[in-house]
Amino acid sequence: MNGWAGQILRVYLTEGKIVKEPLSEEMRLKYIGGRGANSKVLFDELKPGIDALGPENIFCVGVGPLNGTAFPASSRWTVSSKSAVNEGLSDGNGGGDFSTELKFAGYDQMIFYGRSPKPVYLYINDKHVELRDASKVWGKGTHQTNALLAQELREPELRVMCIGQAGENQVRVSKIMTNITRAGGKGGVSAVMGSKNLKAIAVRGTGSVKIAKPKEFHQAVKKAYGKIMASPFYNMFRQEGSLFLIKRYHELGSLPTRNLQAGYFEGWEKLTSEAFEKQFAVKHKGCSACPISCAHYFQVKDPKYGVYSESNEYGTTYPLGPKLGIDNLPAILHMQGICDDLGLDTHACGNTVAFAMECWQRGLLTLKDTDGLDLSWGNADAIIKLLPRIAYRQGFGDVLADGSEKSAQKIPGSQICLKTVKGVEVSALFLGKGMNFVQGLGYATATRGADHLRGGVQMYATGSRRLKETLGVEGAAATIKNPRSIEGKGVFLGLDQKISALFNSLNICAWAVGGLFGGLEPDEIAELYSLATGENSSGDDLLTTGERIYNIEKMIQLRAGFRRKDDTLPPNFLKMEETPRGPTGIDKTEFDNMLSQYYEYMGWDYDGIPKAETLVRLGLPDYAAGYRKHA
């Protein structure tokens, strides 16, 4: 088989049984791999109403046909399960080189069922697959887990996916880690891994990925690398990493500040890529097969905040910085190191701490509630103490360990401080004057709850041929450049979401996708995909696959009970306000019109339920007839 390894693993943890199976043709061609294949398994196999942290939940790890090839930025992996936060879908996507190793070992997907009676890890060495006792690494952080497993297995080249103490303790604001600092997992999938007593997956693979047309594929890869390398955007991004967003979001009034109470942060200049590079960056670092290499190793020498780590990003800096009113970069880097080792998700955990700090600001929490921690904005030293307490569920840490919505049930009057959609904290940006309404629509409708990666926020469709074809050249330009008008936003977001489902299923990096900045567009991705797999597909074919996957996820959401009323935004976003620094938020009626526009483009009814004809068009006739039964 070309592209795919052609084999999956089903691991029955309760019984300690492992079954190897061929990857089905339906899965390959209709769902590709990664996010698509995982979501399909969850939709088909999860029983309704089960406890997300009980043995009936299913945990999937998926990679795609391009992982392990030279395709640019094909480094990603996807983990998925039923959400432990909102009963819908939880998944996460991370980089590094774990996905490459798994493909080299010969597997496209792993599906874990049940719960092991004692802590275990899965060891894969090419054909050899076994569950092993994890008692030596249970209770250990991600650094030690990596080192101890490499030592135990005498495999210096081992690649490890694992949870830290947070996942073991079923903390919902946790994440799954590979390469020690590459993280993924929104919605508590790491807690699900912990609930299964599965500490890690350790892989060594010595094979390779077969390519259908190697010569043509490598020529096309060269062209794609050339395009990326020639782009001024990627030139800047390589230098600055995603930290480039700090100053831009501040200038656009959208830097999420003090639990999204504002879009400007007075301490922003201390957190920019320049400040980071000057003081702490050691050298560049990239994921496998990535011409962009956006990450850095970094070191803080000040003993108070000492840390040597890598991959300081916007996604670690905003939730531990402006969102908490903290402008102390060494402290933020130190906190990132703590989160990576304990396996805490910087987004969900940082956002939940921000919620607690707003509770403090409003007098809803006092020293008595917080075990003596002063949660005033900017108090980094208190947060450094709080993070391990969250991971170990100690005292007030236990109140926050399940995310802000569940914490709010324990803090009277704190609903006002919640900034969530479907139980998931709004991440990455504030809807300030410069931000595009499509970003709000993206948060409201994403299939994991508020989400900056599913589409809308990252705006993958900017510059795409299809946006221009659907809206006209002027219309496409207008919807991008008139951020605060609702025109065209439904199409913009719908396209974005199909693109995101596609690249997450191929498991290529979000940053390598998008026409406007010289990233890859669906037609270019399709050319490379066809040459690698031998399955001739156009960009349109692949986008239809992305749409099919998005609809499967939408049905998982519907099954969890979410409807139109839940496709909404936190109250302070659904309010247009004129501030001295420009307008913020969106008018509720305008938002509602935009939502209808989006449902119509997606072929969904007024309540956001896919119409039968949409599902038939997407090759899902069985679901068209019967999926309501599941709901």
Partner: protein, 90 residues
């Protein structure tokens, strides 16, 4: 007549790291051309070969999007033109 022009940092390597400058002109296009006459290497950073604004840039005039027909928008003394990168994500 003096207009303040503020550039996105992605462009400042084309202007010798100058991000803010005072320029003169009656329209946004004239102001950008004034910057280009001072920093000729900035032309491909602002304009496509046919003279249109580069796709991934947005122009804010006194904080509001100047789209459509940005380059022909009239400006007056004391206005602020900000060239920003169209970005999102995290």
């Amino acid at each position: 007549m003096s207009i303040k022009l503020i550039l996105d940092p992605i462009l400042d390597h084309l202007t010798g790291n100058t991000r803010e400058m005072e320029v003169e002109g009656a329209t946004i296009g004239e102001c950008l051309n004034a910057a280009v006459s001072r920093f000729p290497s900035a032309r491909p950073g602002f304009f496509q070969p046919g003279g249109e604004l580069i796709d991934y840039l947005n122009v804010l005039l006194n904080g509001k999007s100047a789209f459509p027909d940005e380059l022909n928008k009239k400006v007056k003394d004391g206005d602020e033109i900000r060239i920003v990168l169209i970005v999102g994500g995290g």
